[in-house]
């Protein structure tokens, strides 16, 4: 009955919504619908999850395709839509969605990764019903968070996606340290989210009572015209920086990530490491930088040195890992450092590069965790000493794995290279960041290559371990299983060959944000001194 009612509600809403809303509503509605399917019909669950995310992906691609032609509203957002009965007008909360150059690529990436994650969920053999419901909720939440133009729903959807993460690791996770991993990731991410929430609310309170709103475009306009008091900036910015930073595994708050991903089921790791983690970065770029330019400028030097913690230190940690998933998890943390470096450079080139890596890393993280999940299913282990020579039997997986490793060490042709090299150029433009950049280039070119090639050497190359129990059973992916990996690799290659598909969209927005974050200070001082 309820699902019928929700369908009718949906039909009513059709008139007010654009492609965009379906992208995140479809998975959420499907999750509700799945709740009414009896639990023995696991096949249906799987089919619904894969089917719905497939449609979501197509819609995402369609949206991306139409983006250039679509008309933008006054704030530069396209496909703007609202869900009228959600929100609270008295508080300045409205359920509004829209994409501009900054999040359009992220939404596309999220939609593609969601489909890949659903495809890679074949490994789940227990409690499928709950798993697929949570997976769909997570998908809807992630996509909703990235397209919300309202701070409240931006945060709300993130939480909607975050909670299933903890549960999925706790229930379907693997490995001996599963419980500890769940505990750790829950504590860290809850604290991070809480800090960010306090920061966002404090931000909201900076507005005069009569114009208070959570609407991001309105806030942007307001803070472009009115500089926030320095004292307020000085306590809100660190809250957001470290709140969001913890969510993105900023050094030294990173230790939840590798273990958490290592213990998570593949789909969860793919969605969280690939997409949900970018929420914090997106928040930093969208909110923290433009709203609090003075604080941003004074914190960027510190952020730049912290990013070395990710690139170098976590890179070294990754070199020492004996478990493939921990290695990939640490490499994912290390890659975050490159994004932070791009943000810290606070110029058009660096910030655009950071956004490009966010998208690239989304595809890449999904690809690597998906592949390691496949290997785990085939062999029952991810200890690298137990593996070896798998490329002989897993030919497709082997090729995909080598490509993923190459993308991971920033090989041209893959989108990651475009992002990393752009960040290098952006950071090099800032004389104060030169030393950090030199070290980061070392981390990206050398350390990144060392652990990635070490993984390839240990898992795929070398003599096959014929004496292991799995040796006779390993089989290469069939056409169906190849699909998610093929789509992810294709995405990395297409954008890697033609980066302007992305950068031309991102550039106008980052330009505006960088302007606010750098010249905003001077401009508003002039404006204030006029009367």
């Amino acid at each position: 009955m309820f699902s019928f009612a929700s369908l009718r509600l949906c039909a009513f809403a059709l008139k007010k919504m654009t492609t965009l809303t379906y992208i995140f509503l479809l998975p959420l509605l499907a999750a509700i619908a799945l709740a009414f399917v009896p639990r023995n019909f696991a096949v249906i669950m799987r089919a619904v999850a894969v089917g719905v995310t497939f449609v979501t992906m197509l819609l995402g691609i369609l949206m991306f395709w139409q983006f250039n032609g679509a008309t933008a509203d006054a704030n530069g957002y396209k496909f703007v839509s609202t869900i009228p009965w959600l929100g609270a007008e008295s508080l300045g909360i409205a359920c509004k969605f829209g994409v501009d150059g900054l999040n359009v690529g992220l939404v596309l990436m999220g939609a593609i990764v969601a489909f890949a994650a659903a495809c890679c969920s074949f490994e789940i053999k227990t409690r499928e019903k709950e798993f697929y419901i949570l997976l769909l909720v997570m998908t809807g939440g992630i996509l909703g968070a990235f397209m919300s133009t309202d701070l409240f729903f931006f945060y709300f959807f993130h939480e909607l996606a975050l909670v299933p993460t903890f549960i999925m690791i706790g229930v379907w996770g693997r490995g001996e340290r599963k419980n500890f991993a769940t505990f750790q990731i829950t504590i860290y991410l809850s604290i991070g989210a809480l800090l960010a929430l306090i920061g966002l609310i404090a931000l909201y309170l900076q507005l005069p009572t009569d114009v208070r709103t959570f609407d991001i475009p309105t806030l942007t306009k307001y803070f472009a015209e009115h500089t926030m008091a320095a004292s307020a900036q000085n306590f809100i910015f660190p809250l957001l920086l470290f709140g969001f930073g913890i969510l993105v595994s900023l050094w030294p708050f990173h230790s939840w990530a590798a273990l958490g991903y290592g213990s998570a089921p593949s789909a969860t790791a793919m969605l969280h490491a690939g997409v949900l983690k970018k929420f914090g970065l997106y928040g930093l770029i969208r909110v923290a930088l433009p709203f609090m330019p003075q604080a941003a400028q004074s914190w960027m030097q510190i952020l730049a040195w912290l990013c070395l913690g990710n690139v170098l230190y976590v890179g070294w940690v990754a070199m020492r890992q004996k478990n493939l998933n921990l290695l990939i998890g640490n490499s994912s943390v290390a890659h975050m450092g490159m994004i932070f470096l791009g943000i810290a450079s606070l110029n058009l080139i660096g910030v655009t590069g950071a956004v490009v890596i966010m998208i690239a890393h989304g595809f890449l993280a999904a690809l690597t965790f998906g592949l390691s999940g496949y290997i785990y299913n085939q062999t029952g282990t991810l200890e690298m000493s137990e593996l070896g020579g798998l490329a002989k039997k897993l030919r497709f997986i082997g090729v995909a794995f080598v490509m993923a490793a190459m993308a991971g060490c920033g090989l041209p042709g893959f989108l990651n290279f475009v992002g990393e090299v752009t960040v290098f150029f952006g950071a090099w433009q800032v004389p104060a960041l030169r030393l950090v950049t030199v070290l980061a280039v070392w981390g990206a070119l050398i350390i990144g290559a060392v652990y990635m090639l070490r993984a390839v050497r240990a898992v795929m190359h070398g003599p096959a371990q014929e004496d292991k129990t799995y040796a006779t059973n390993v089989t290469d992916a069939n056409l169906w299983r190849k699909l998610p990996y093929a789509i992810l690799i294709a995405s990395l290659l297409v954008f890697g060959f033609f980066p302007r598909f992305l950068t031309d969209k991102i550039k106008p927005v980052t330009e505006q944000i960088v302007n606010m974050a750098t010249t905003g200070v001077a401009k508003t001082i002039v404006a204030q001194s006029k009367p």
């Binding site: 829950t186 230790s255 070294w316 490329a391 290098f424 070119l445």
Partner: protein, 621 residues
């Protein structure tokens, strides 16, 4: 003009071939080989057409690849005499090696994959040659690195091959690190220019434009060449790279990839200051000597050739450093012919000997494999620098430059020339002369036509390449003042008129080297040198322990840092952060203490409560 499409065809056909093979024809060996060979052969003929169409007038074809404020990156193809000549070498020698591979790789279970990788490599190499700006060159630079990784590690189930591939990639990456930094410095100092021609004109108009960064930027860019051309101290990867199939050794590690470094130096010659050039010439000279000494005591036929390649690359780099880039390019060209010939000849021997590579198990192959023997002999003579073979002229050009600029380097270069003759004839005497040293020799037989014909073509090229005007072309491309002779006879005698000391020293070095090799190895059953040289011989055989030194220093240090980081991460960062949380729990009381129950519902509950509390706080205000 319709010819404008040609450079794009030349560049992208191999990529298309590699893509099609990987996606569709992995199971069909014939189609794969046809696609791969077809792509490069068409590229060769297209290059010849380009020669006719553009007649050495520089052309650039560009599209914008990345457009971000001051970071403007073009994807551009530059055709000028330098790149056209290099295109001819890469597609020409490459075509022969592709054809040869059909025979050599026959029966390998991954035959199609081999050709896919070969085509990918060709694409990357052509990209370097055609690039018109620094970042694009860096892109293809990296792609060459990865395709060489794939080809060296082609037999990846062999642990040694997998390790060699990894080592090659990582060593190259160290060079690329410097290259990248050099590009960044140039880009910032020159206000956002990456294009070679623009930078060249800018630097020529404002010699002080680079200021204090000039030397540093030049040396960092040179780092890229040190990695790719395997110069000291990054030379360690090249000999290990011999783990790849022999055609790969011929294509990548003799004729093309390692030449990329020298080509790049010539391409960006204008950014090097005189001080930087001095450093470059000494690095090159030292590499030449070091590698030649090591080659004297190697026993693996491919490794001898590998060290010989290192040594010759040292010559080329030295030539560039001596402000004679045209001599470096000339030697690169002739070396591409005779070294590809030598490697393919060695491949033919290895093929016949059922993958035996130790020269002390061969012997007397002269009669069993006449074509291989004669062509190998031509290659050896050319490499040793015998007049009137090609190697004589190109080596002489470098010797003349050294004689002109720096006496110590001249002496060093002549010494290396003698060593070259010595180790090459050691190889020839032991392999082809004397008595058979193992039973495999009895079963050896000449290789099939598809392998032998490329040898013949390369042998002819090795003989005539010195006198067909190649040096004049490069001189025209790289220097404005050119007084080079025309006509074959004039070219034949030119070295003796132009720099008689250099030419005669080169020939004298050849004679001494040949005599010493004849004395020691003409009928040797085992190597007499270790007994005579003792410790020095051991050091040479063990490559002067460079691998061991690096293992003990660079790699150990990195591993140690990694171990410490890992330990800190596990016991301090993780522990401290969680400890703080736990400590905070005790202080702040019940709410957070509940979080440690390990119960997921509690976490979810706490979360909702938290959000509610904060919202209530907001509403209350």
């Amino acid at each position: 003009m319709k010819y404008e499409v040609l450079p794009w065809v030349i560049l992208f056909l191999p990529l298309v071939a590699a893509g099609i093979i990987t996606l569709f024809t992995l199971k069909n060996e014939k189609v794969s080989a046809t696609l791969s060979v077809g792509a490069i052969v068409i590229g060769f003929f297209a290059t010849v057409l380009c020669f006719r169409a553009f007649r050495f007038s520089p052309q650039e074809f560009t599209i914008n690849w990345l457009d971000l404020g001051t970071l403007q990156v073009d994807f551009g193809l530059r055709l000028d005499p330098l790149s056209l000549m290099m295109l001819l070498i890469v597609t020409g020698v490459g075509s022969l090696i592709h054809i040869y591979s059909i025979g050599y790789m026959k029966g390998d279970p991954a035959f199609s994959r081999f050709f896919a990788c070969l085509s990918l490599f060709t694409f990357s190499m052509l990209g370097i040659v055609l690039s018109n700006n620094f970042l694009q060159m860096f892109i293809f630079w990296e792609l060459v690195g990865v395709s060489s990784y794939l080809l060296i590690g082609f037999w990846f189930e062999k642990a040694s091959a997998a390790d060699a591939a990894k080592k090659a990639f990582l060593t190259n990456r160290v060079g690329d690190f410097g290259f990248m930094l050099g590009i960044l410095i140039l880009w910032v100092t020159l206000h956002g220019t990456l294009n070679f021609e623009l930078i060249k004109h800018y630097v020529q108009d404002n010699p002080a434009a680079l200021g204090g960064a000039a030397m540093l930027a030049g040396l960092l860019i040179f780092c890229g060449a040190v990695g790719k051309s395997a110069q000291f101290p990054l030379h360690v990867w090249l000999p290990d790279a011999m783990e790849g199939p022999t055609p790969v050794s011929a294509l990548i590690h003799a004729a093309t990839m390692v030449a990329a470094g020298v080509y790049m130096l010539c391409r960006v010659f204008f950014i090097f200051t005189p001080d930087a050039l001095t450093v470059i010439s000494w690095v090159g000279g030292f590499t030449a000597l070091l590698a030649a000494l090591i080659a004297v005591q190697q026993n693996d036929i491919k490794r001898i050739l590998a060290y010989s390649t290192l040594s010759q690359l040292g010559y080329m780099v030295m030539g560039v450093g001596l402000a004679a880039p045209e001599a470096g390019m000339f030697h690169l060209t002739t070396h591409a012919f005779f070294k590809a010939l030598l490697f393919l000849g060695a491949g033919s021997v290895i093929h016949a000997m059922h993958h035996e590579q130790d020269i002390w198990k061969m012997g007397a192959l002269r009669k069993k494999m006449p074509v291989t023997y004669w062509t190998f002999m031509v290659g050896t003579l050319a490499l040793a620098g015998v007049w009137p073979l090609s190697g004589f002229f190109s080596k002489d050009a470098i010797l003349a430059a050294a004689h002109h600029h720096s006496l110590p380097l001249f002496i060093l270069a002549v010494g290396v020339a003698g060593l070259t003759t010595f180790y090459m004839f050691r190889l020839v005497f032991v392999t082809f002369f004397g008595e058979a040293k193992s039973h495999d020799v009895d079963h050896a037989h000449e290789s099939p036509g598809v392998m032998v014909w490329p040898l013949r073509v390369l042998a002819i090229l090795s003989i005539i390449a010195g006198v067909i005007g190649i040096e004049g072309l490069f001189a025209g491309a790289l220097k404005s003042e050119g007084e080079h002779p025309h006509g074959i006879v004039a070219q034949l005698i030119y070295p003796f008129q132009h720099a008689p000391v250099a030419a005669c020293s080169g020939l004298a070095a050849f004679a001494i080297g040949l005599f010493a090799a004849w004395k020691l190895y003409a009928n040797a059953k085992s190597d007499p040198l270790p007994a005579k040289l003792g410790g020095l011989s051991r050091a040479m055989a063990n490559r002067f322990y460079f691998d061991e030194i690096y293992e003990a220093t660079v790699i150990r240090i990195h591993d140690a840092i990694a171990t410490i980081s890992d330990w800190i991460d596990r016991w301090i960062v993780e522990g401290l952060c969680l400890g703080l949380v736990r400590g905070g729990t005790d202080l702040t009381g019940r709410a957070l203490r509940l979080a440690q129950t390990g119960n997921l519902q509690t976490y979810a509950f706490l979360f909702v409560v938290g959000v509610a509390v904060v919202l209530w706080f907001v509403l209350g205000k």
